[in-house]
Symmetry: D2
Subunit: 140 residues, 4 copies
Amino acid sequence: MALAFDVAGLTEYLHEIFPQVRDDFAIETMEENHLRMRLLTAERHLRPGGTVSGPSMFALADCAVYALILAHLGQEALAVTTNCSLDFMRKPAAGADLIGEARLLKLGRVLAVADVLIYSEGMAQPVARASMTYSIPPKR
Amino acid sequence: MALAFDVAGLTEYLHEIFPQVRDDFAIETMEENHLRMRLLTAERHLRPGGTVSGPSMFALADCAVYALILAHLGQEALAVTTNCSLDFMRKPAAGADLIGEARLLKLGRVLAVADVLIYSEGMAQPVARASMTYSIPPKR
Amino acid sequence: MALAFDVAGLTEYLHEIFPQVRDDFAIETMEENHLRMRLLTAERHLRPGGTVSGPSMFALADCAVYALILAHLGQEALAVTTNCSLDFMRKPAAGADLIGEARLLKLGRVLAVADVLIYSEGMAQPVARASMTYSIPPKR
Amino acid sequence: MALAFDVAGLTEYLHEIFPQVRDDFAIETMEENHLRMRLLTAERHLRPGGTVSGPSMFALADCAVYALILAHLGQEALAVTTNCSLDFMRKPAAGADLIGEARLLKLGRVLAVADVLIYSEGMAQPVARASMTYSIPPKR
């Protein structure tokens, strides 16, 4: 399936529709069924002790998969998060950026399913794993 | 099981250990195995269109259950979120506070399990449902 | 929402469409948004040690919610399980029947969401908790 | 981490502790952090229409990860399933064996986390995805 955007075009489009997250996330690489997104970790993403908060990890997983779906379906598409299941496995390094490796497992007519491994930059093993499901409303 | 805190005491303790969320959440009621927490919805919790974001719903569920575990185990206790599964079912009303109704299903020696129904104030049916699992490290 | 079946009628219909499970499950009570189903525990549902297996608990949760959706939508309806999340909290009593208390949280145009508390007969606290999501295909 | 068993030794040990599933599952390959298990699909695993049932997919995922944990920890180890989250994505081919590709993401002191992609033999894309969490009780 050919992608509807390149990285620059998708980045620009995400900034337009989600201006409030433009300082939080950056698409690093993108190909069919895969997208790598970086959380540009800042003070507002941290818990006491300096590790990235659970809600920030969820936001990274959600944004990575949303971008990956848009990359496949194009900008007329909508996708609504219906389920997110997160396993928190290790403590991220204090203050480090997070890297989300999103993999699209199904892109159906009404549902999309993906998972995301989340890494703390500089650590070999993943800090968290997310499963995400999206409802794809019919085009208007 | 007698609770280790009353609402005022637990609120004070949460403000001390999580100063960055003191303006976000308020405990409304608390009894054995149940706690109701309010998300004081503000601009920073919203998505385009004015509805509360998924990460903010996760933060509400996580904070409600964390508080409920502390209420049972007291302030020497630790609890680390290990799994969160969220179903997003309806769109919250724009700008409305959210109410999380947390229910403790298991408080074991090493694991605690709870679920949370999340309501948008003024709507009868829940907007989201969360299942939460926590690891309870041994006391130091 | 008026139910499309009573207990006897729904039981008969389930036996017709799922003859292989007629000896496994019995609907105990049913009302709007709630259904209680019993797993008639037999040797084939057990693990070593005599407790009911995880797959048998999943089957109970799935069958209870499927029946609850049919009760609301009637026999022309289809429902396809898309997600199941199970928390196993306590060991069931050896050989005891299990009781599933299913609660419908959303019955939308394309998705239904429910949860189920599973009890081992004679124990006060639940042994497991399930969240279930179903896709509702358009009527033919 | 060196494995505590080879395929033949682990198969023999599983047959000894779970005699009731010896005709259901076969370990195909095993290496550090990965194990491939086959469900030897038979009439008892099927739903009307001939596709493998959800509970049978759960059993495959659970058995594959349990075997993978034992392969790392050895036969004195115990592992208790605490959470299972399954996404059902495609209909398996009627009557075909299923293949579970299990990947160990964390093997900690008290918790293990893994995921499993489930394939219907002969289909390129996965039919289901499972996330599994296990509690590791202290050795006696």
